[in-house]
């Protein structure tokens, strides 16, 4: 192990420019991928915020006993899709209307009788905020005898669905393309570093070094370059995030797990790139 660390350290010392170039290339390749990831994360978060407003409202027939509603609420909350179900009485509905519909305040004040029905407001769990689930829940709500009508923004939920699907497909496609480009660039960079030392590899083999002995320092070197590149990419990304946050708009940064995944991805590509390049090279000596 001591020898592996020494040989890997020597490689950095012997070709500092090439090593710095490798790390920089890895850093910028990963930076582009991570920046795209950041956009995707923020887009996803935006869509999630919009999706939180997905709500199914069941209007109740006048005179429905409170006990019946209370029992029904328990049943509704037990639906797998449902996050919460709240009862809004006629009076609460009127109070809310008065507070929210300021321009009709006078009309609402002069009412002799409350025209607003009581309702049950159903919010869905995050994974079920799509058109199909909303439809299913609405259908089941209609099954209750005391439910007069069920409302939800069908068009709106369907549009949100389409937007989510589009964002997912574009994200996956563009993300995969960016990642593939990063892998190719990083792989080529690592291969250059290996080719730079091809004579050395041949000499190592001639004096009786096993393939494993030749390979190990390269693997460590590749992993370290990937790690350094990943850390630099995260630093660049954080800089970009801070700048956008300060001067443009408020955005979210990657979670700790996502940031670690980027650094881990860099390390892994460095490792795999080195293994592939050295392996291919060793077969020829």
């Amino acid at each position: 192990m001591r020898l592996v660390v020494r040989e890997a350290a020597l490689a950095f010392r012997r070709a500092p420019l090439l090593s710095a170039l490798s790390v920089t290339t890895i850093a910028f390749s990963l930076f582009v991928v991570t920046l795209f990831g950041l956009v995707a994360v923020n887009l996803q978060q935006g869509l999630r915020a919009v999706a939180e407003r997905v709500e199914v409202v069941a209007y109740l027939l006048p005179g429905t006993p409170v006990e019946t509603v209370t029992l029904a609420l328990k049943d509704i909350e037990a639906f797998p899709e449902v996050q919460s179900a709240d009862f809004v009485s006629e009076d609460q509905a009127l109070a809310r209307a008065r507070a929210e519909l300021v321009e009709f305040r006078d009309v609402l004040q002069e009412l002799e009788r409350n025209p607003l029905p009581a309702s049950i407001e159903v919010r869905l769990k995050p994974h079920y905020r799509d058109a199909a689930s909303v439809d299913a829940v609405a259908e089941r709500l209609r099954g209750f005898g005391f439910v007069d009508d069920v409302r939800f923004g069908r068009d709106w939920v369907e549009k949100l669905d389409r937007l989510r699907q589009l964002a997912g497909a574009v994200g996956l496609g563009v993300g995969a393309a960016f990642a593939a480009v990063a892998i190719i660039i990083i792989g080529t960079t690592i291969r250059m570093a290996v080719l730079h030392r091809s004579r050395e590899i041949a000499i190592m083999r001639l004096v009786g070094a096993t393939d494993g002995f030749v390979r190990r320092p390269f693997l460590l070197e590749g992993a370290l370059k990937g790690l350094a590149g990943g850390l630099c990419a995260m630093a660049l990304c954080y800089g970009a995030y801070a700048a956008i946050n300060r001067w443009l708009l408020h955005v979210a940064f990657l979670s700790r797990t996502q940031a670690l995944a980027v650094v881990g991805f860099g390390t892994l590509i460095g490792l795999i790139g080195s293994a592939a390049s050295v392996g291919r090279h060793l077969r020829h000596v």
Binding site: M204, R205, L206, G208, T210, F213
Partner: protein, 231 residues
């Protein structure tokens, strides 16, 4: 020690480089491989250290059946051999001492003993004073001595030298050749490929001459023949 029996070596685009070569080199023997450029000297040496696969025939070196050697066994074979080249093949960014030590390190030798063993062989080749010098700071003859020290450090039974004096002036050539003779006197078999006939004439060693890949002359067989026909 080294046995070639009806050995052929063909390159995909280069035709036959070695044709039906048979010889045996005994333990502690010194043998020259001679012939013009392209005669097959280097290829014969490569077949000995598994630098090229044998096309047909049998090659045995230091107990290894090189004809059927696996990739895993190659390092073990090479650790039993010392190999020296015309272009020295030293690692440019390591000192003489580090170059020699490297051949020991790859074998997994114990750290504690490496330095002493390295200095011993550097002393043997007359370069102890230049242990800390980098190859670029050494003359051609000195670089070849470092390469020989590296070849010797694992105490090989056979030293293979491919034109070891090819890049050296006359004085350095004499020095390196004398060193190889001393090593041979210590019991190590030496196979030296060379086209320097003056060098070959200087010493009463066995000569194997190659021509277009075929063995056309073996001084030992000649001697045996002379002894057989003399009354």
């Amino acid at each position: 020690m080294i046995k070639f029996a009806s050995v052929f070596k063909a390159f995909p685009k280069g035709g036959l480089a070695v044709k039906d070569v048979t010889f045996h080199i005994a333990k502690g023997e010194f043998a020259f491989l001679t012939g013009h450029s392209g005669a097959g000297k280097s290829t014969i040496l490569k077949l000995m250290y598994a630098g090229e696969p044998v096309t047909s025939g049998e090659v045995r070196v230091s107990g290894f059946n090189v004809t059927a050697i696996t990739r895993r066994e190659v390092p073990r074979l090479r650790r039993r051999l010392g190999i020296v080249f015309q272009d020295f093949r030293l690692l440019e960014d390591r000192t003489a001492e580090e170059n020699v030590a490297f051949a020991l390190e790859v074998t997994g030798a114990r750290w504690a003993g490496i330095s002493a063993r390295v200095m011993r062989v550097l002393t043997q080749v007359g370069l102890a004073a230049k242990a800390a010098a980098y190859p670029r700071e050494l003359s051609g003859g000195e670089q070849q001595r470092v390469a020989i020290a590296r070849a010797l450090v694992n105490e090989p039974l056979v030293l293979l030298a491919d034109e070891p004096t090819g890049n050296l002036d006359e004085r350095a050539t004499r020095g390196v050749f004398q060193l190889l003779r001393d090593i041979n006197a210590g019991g190590t078999a030496v196979v030296m490929a060379t086209h320097d006939l003056d060098l070959v004439r200087q010493a009463p060693y066995r000569v194997l001459e190659l021509q277009d890949g075929a063995l056309v002359y073996d001084s030992q067989a000649d001697e045996a023949h002379d002894q057989a026909v003399s009354p």
